[in-house]
Symmetry: C2
Subunit: 442 residues, 2 copies
């Protein structure tokens, strides 16, 4: 008799695991449980849907439940798993009943964590496609919006709301927007946000979500006064959803996410992947919890292949991320200067301004590159880029340099591509590496 | 008394050497000789100037002779060096007279090599800014043009001529355009060239440049018939200009370029850099002659610093190149499939089609990625990309992977950036690496 692989969670990690297991072992019975009605969707695309760049929420679905079923995966949407019994090898469903399994992949994702202020519980999250649809349908251009939290999601969402004609304020308790960048680089982002009309308030703490008589948001109260708004979005962060894993006795790491080994294994016949797990950070050399679709996809594949008898290993992350915010491309990899110092590195930083094309070439845009370098060795610890279109993806070569622990002394000579429509004679990464070498005094 | 550094050649390599030596040793006397009237110019920009994207040829000059002089470099334009006497430590000038030196940097660049057919000698090259100015001024939209040689320069030039309204034919004796790519990838380039109106003829050999009574080109005769044209461009390749070096007894390598060590040194107190020298190819593990501004800039810096008492080393090249041709971005690094086989590698190739944005994201363009992989080890030997805007610079991360001798087994997991406006959840490089791993059967 064939064994049964159960998968909890039907988004990137879970369905990547399902598809990979299916490909590797045709005899395996595979059943996947998803609370919502969509599978394999791009949560990263939600701000663009909200902003109207994408019309139909269904466009964000890479593979429907029907398509997965046609691939031999028993997908059960609208089905919440309430408990995992590892000894009896069975799942209990929220709607009642149990489902036995032999092997298990947990891909339970993350949950929004509303800030602990009065009224926050009345604000609907905008994390799933269902929530995004409801939120967009309810948008009312005659009223203002407040977005709380100026990270990626907060900025992308504020931009979307401005695009839809809403007067939009963005507040964050930190003294800068975009905490994933150092303050000097984040300034470029704040200016871009303000340029498209977002009313940015940093260093402002949310104290209450103000509700009307019907219990619906009518604004926010901050330590600097009140902001009226019909629409309130709380983008103050998400936490790995580890309730099932914790209750089942699976290991939870210091980050609050499920602790897995590099095979994505977290227990006997149990694997986990995606937003709910820890990943090893190759520079910090410790586990981190990074919630990104690209990691979810890779880890899901590894979990699925291994659950089907394979042996793939996840080699870790270096903290790479990218976003397009208010016409600017914003990217980072490795550690910021602040993160490097916090982690105990003796680091120096160097920032250069270069361009997306040769100086003389029409349509040249700016590329600001900041490198963070270990002082004694010259090792590249991290990089940040803010710039015009095509600036952002230039982070990838720096991500690979960080991945390999490369020193700027070598990086400055690497054979990167050059043609006038795409860069100066030295790519911005090389310009930055050369400047960093000088900064190191060698 | 201060020593004198003489530099022969005032373009990227030579003036980069001059400026770097100046920075390192303020006491050094530096004199640079340039045949033409421009210094530090972008020859790579010439096709864009011809096409009218750039109005003024002076825009292609990064630094004028006056600017170099203000920096303490004695630049002598319009001055050709006719001989180097290493024993007497003096240069002889074509216009007469000698100039003593203590140290020497040769940056003599490359020369067009007209094909050995009748009439070719009557065709003016379009290599320098002076030549480009003359050529553009003489362009006559009422007549056609023929470009011979469908490499980078030939394609870029043919595109420029079409942009200026000339009926333009492009011929090459090879069965494909763009020999720097494998034939399957070059097909995309040929289609793009034809789409903008270039009349492409491959497998056609030039037999004669036909001249009118005044000795000016009136067309070409090929092994497939005649093509009339008022303008004929011979883009059939360039050779390193090593006449001075050879006559001086400096070592010339098998590639026909000056043989230098990794300090760019080729003799006692003599360094060389740029189009005229050999570089070590890190995959082939042998010297190659690659003529690119980016190498010239780097090697010039190394030569200049070392000539001023420093110790920098050039770590070699991996054959990276990029171009924008007829709205397509075209890039390569490492070895093509053909080059890998010719070099004796047991190689397999895999090609994928991916996109510049997520599937659902507006404005998504195509990205074709071909990887060439060593069969036994999975080591990435080379990569090629053809695609829409933003496709090309994605070669850089693959260039760095080739640089490090990385295997696709590891590459497929690298933490590259992802956001819907810039890629699918897996970057095209990762999609290609994953496909290559499958192709290897593991």
């Amino acid at each position: 008799m064939s064994e049964r692989l159960a998968i909890v969670g039907g988004d990137a990690a879970g369905m990547s695991a399902a598809a990979s297991a299916r490909r590797r072992d045709e005899s395996l019975e595979i059943v996947a449980f998803e609370r919502g009605r969509f599978t394999s969707y791009s949560a990263c695309g939600i701000p663009y849907y909200l902003g109207g760049l994408i019309d139909d929420v269904a466009d964000l679905v890479a593979r429907t439940p029907e398509q997965h079923r046609a691939n031999g995966i028993d997908v059960r949407t609208g089905t919440e798993v309430a408990g995992v019994d590892l000894d009896r090898r069975e799942l209990s469903l929220a709607g009642g009943g149990t489902v036995p399994f032999d092997r298990l992949v947990l891909a339970t994702g993350a949950r929004a964590t509303p800030p602990p202020v009065p009224g926050a519980e009345a604000v609907e999250p905008v994390r799933t496609l269902e929530e995004a649809e409801r939120f967009r349908d309810a948008l009312d251009g005659d009223h203002g919006a407040v977005v709380v939290g100026a990270g990626y999601i907060g900025l992308e969402t504020a931009e979307a709301l401005v695009r839809r004609g809403l007067r939009t304020a963005l507040i964050d308790r930190a003294p800068q927007v975009f905490g994933a960048l150092d303050a000097d680089m984040a300034e470029h982002v704040q200016r871009a946000a303000e340029a498209v009309g977002i009313d940015v308030h940093t260093g402002v703490a949310l104290e209450e979500v103000l509700l009307d008589a019907g219990g619906r948001p009518r604004g926010v109260r901050t330590d600097r006064g009140e902001l009226p708004a019909r629409h309130v979005v709380l983008a103050t962060g998400v936490r790995p959803d580890v309730g099932l894993a914790r209750a089942a006795g699976l290991p939870i790491g210091e980050t609050g996410a499920i602790a897995v080994d590099d095979a994505q294994r977290c227990g006997d016949g149990v694997w986990a992947a995606g937003d709910c797990v820890e990943s090893r950070h190759r520079v910090l050399e410790r586990p981190v919890n990074v919630q990104l679709g690209t990691h979810a996809n890779k880890q899901g594949r590894i979990a699925g292949v291994n659950a089907a008898g394979g042996d793939l290993r996840f080699p870790g992350v270096v903290g790479t991320a990218i976003s397009r915010i208010c016409e600017r491309e914003v990217a980072r990899t490795g550690l910021t200067e602040r993160e490097a110092r916090e982690a105990g590195f003796e680091a120096v930083a160097e920032t250069v301004e270069s361009g997306t094309r040769a100086n003389y070439f029409p349509g040249r845009g700016d590329v600001h590159v900041k490198l963070v370098v270990e002082e004694a060795t010259g090792r590249l610890l991290g990089a940040q880029i803010v710039g015009a279109e095509t600036a952002g993806k230039r982070i990838d070569v720096l991500a690979l340099a960080v991945w390999h622990g490369m020193a700027v002394d070598e990086l400055q000579w690497v054979d990167l591509s050059y043609a006038p429509p795409m860069s100066g004679v030295l790519d911005p990464a090389l310009v930055a590496a050369r400047a960093a070498v000088r900064r190191l005094g060698r």
